[in-house]
Subunit: 343 residues, 2 copies
């Protein structure tokens, strides 16, 4: 039976292996290398440039940026590994057990802004935390198209569903839903894009897959929907995160390949620049990673590397009915069951 | 002697006149009219277009936008008047006495994004709140140049110093400093521009002119710096706010007139678009008005009217030494004593 008793669940939290930090850190760097390699091959014109940096309070990272490519107007892939005395308040609210303990955090994150409005913007992030008695994994990947191609959304979701299903059939429906809820612009009443996967605070306890904002209520809600899940070890979750990381290139590259030669005009470009504004709004107002970075005195240029190279705002824009732009709003910016999509 | 005793100060809070809401609301609308008229005359090409809107929870406003003008790439001047059951948490933290009371809030705000990089972006906002036992005024105006012209900064500050001095010689030094502290991007360690005036929570109590973030400590600090000030009535403060409002056109129009015919190239335009990114970062991450609007289910299009029509981000940009761009960073994005500026 699933137990929602906190004390009992805490007891079930398994201990990470001795070399947990080394293993994760190595994986995160390899993931950065692999993704950068794949994207350079796709772009065909430009390469990533790297900046290594140290954080005065402990740790550092390597930021890689590709600009003015054939495919990518700008792309950033960032590895970081930081430690310090106490986690920031926004995280302690979700993990009060970590309060008063030093923390270790590492992760790889990526945002790509393609030049063509027909190629979606995409975001990926995987991260790992240890703080006193607790540890957890978080992350995911989500796609933000400018023009609506259902087959692209289906491909992206199917790829990640495959990665999930090889580990636990309960993962995909929960993490897909979580993604839809997380990448939501409340003030616009719009989703950021067509979603993908998102999860946070995964530590293998049966308490629930979902530990997000208002995690008490939500955890109960999701756990009930999901039903009984088997407890997972540190290695189970790490293996799953690795599989997710390695699924990125197969999930995205075919979409970019398929769309890269489609011609577009000023109208499509303008719409893309306008929609990029939503990316900025999300990242600066809601994004957990951005807020964590700014609150922990992270490297601003690396954190804000996710912002698009060129953006428009336009007062009171609404798409004209029966256009691809309207279809984006009506269908693609609302949660859809993409893996069961029927044309 | 200045007293820092909260209970004693609360007693000194004067009662607003019976028709306070009507008077302020009328002033805020007249200010919007006057500013729009002056800006249309300056622009010479385009006029403001108005949208009236209602807020489901109570109140509404009129938003006016001018786009593609000769001088202004985009300008927005917004009047709003809203009421509801309870103020949002961010304000209640500063004004706990208002908790559990209905509130009334009205204000006029403006952001102008000129086309020429030689004309500064400028922001103005005046607002008034009533909630249960408390009422207060807030607002100010601040200038964000892209290229450094000391005489423009001197003119802007001198105009507002004049407005302040006609009411209380203690106003300018306090509200100028408050402005420098408020329009500060912590993650960039930069001021947003050359400042101007900013004040909040002005209710006439001698407790201090300053009631900002960490107002306990700050109020004591500023009150000590300022020394004894005479208690002010509701009318004293309203008169001061009116004078500030009417000072905007004389503070800004001469600067725009002086710079509007200076030719510029792609380099200056690119720098302007890049610097506009800081405006976006400030408004979405720190701005009290934006956060209030989004938290109270305000009209998103009117709130985000402050965002620039076109913006660039560039990874790891730094200005070249001994250029006007470097001078902006070194001198103009740090607090300066502009009214005593010596060339």
């Amino acid at each position: 039976m699933t137990s929602f008793d906190n004390a009992a669940d805490a007891k079930k939290l398994s201990t990470p292996p001795q070399d947990s930090r080394e293993r994760i850190s190595q994986f995160m760097q390899q993931l950065q290398d692999k993704i950068c390699g794949g994207l350079e091959e796709l772009d065909g014109k430009e390469k990533f440039k790297e900046d290594s940096w140290k954080r005065p309070e402990g740790g550092g990272g390597r930021s890689r940026v590709l600009t003015d490519g054939a495919i990518f107007e700008q792309g950033g892939v960032n590895f970081s590994e930081v430690w310090g005395k106490n986690l920031p308040p926004s995280i302690l609210k979700q993990r009060p057990e970590a309060d008063g303990h030093g923390f270790y955090a590492t992760g790889t994150s990526m945002v790509l802004h393609p030049r063509s409005p027909f190629i979606p913007t995409v975001h990926l992030n995987y991260r790992y935390f240890e703080a006193g008695p607790v540890w957890w994994f978080g992350g995911g990947a989500d796609l933000t198209p400018y023009y609506p191609f259902a087959e692209d959304a289906v491909h992206f979701h199917n790829t990640y569903k495959g990665a999930c299903d090889r580990h636990d059939p309960e993962y995909y429906p929960v993490f897909k839903k979580w993604c839809d809820e997380y990448f939501y612009l409340k003030h616009r009443q719009e989703n950021r894009g067509i979603g993908g996967l998102f999860f946070d605070y995964q530590d293998g306890r049966t308490f629930g897959l979902y530990r997000g904002p208002n995690s008490e209520g939500e955890a109960a809600k999701y756990s009930k929907e999901v039903g009984e899940i088997k407890p997972r070890t540190w290695d189970d979750i790490f293996n799953f995160v690795q599989e997710c990381g390695h699924s990125f290139l197969p999930a995205y590259v075919p979409i970019a390949e398929k769309r890269k030669d489609t011609e577009y005009g000023e109208k499509e470009r303008n719409f893309q620049l306008y929609r990029r504004g939503r990316y900025v709004e999300f990242n600066l107002v809601y994004d957990r990673g951005t807020i964590f970075g700014l609150q922990t005195n992270g490297r601003t240029e690396s954190i804000l590397m996710s912002l698009p190279p060129l953006v428009r705002w336009e007062y009171a824009y609404t798409p004209e009915p029966d256009t691809p732009e309207a279809e984006l709003y009506d269908i693609f910016l609302k949660p859809q069951d993409w893996v069961n999509w029927h044309k």
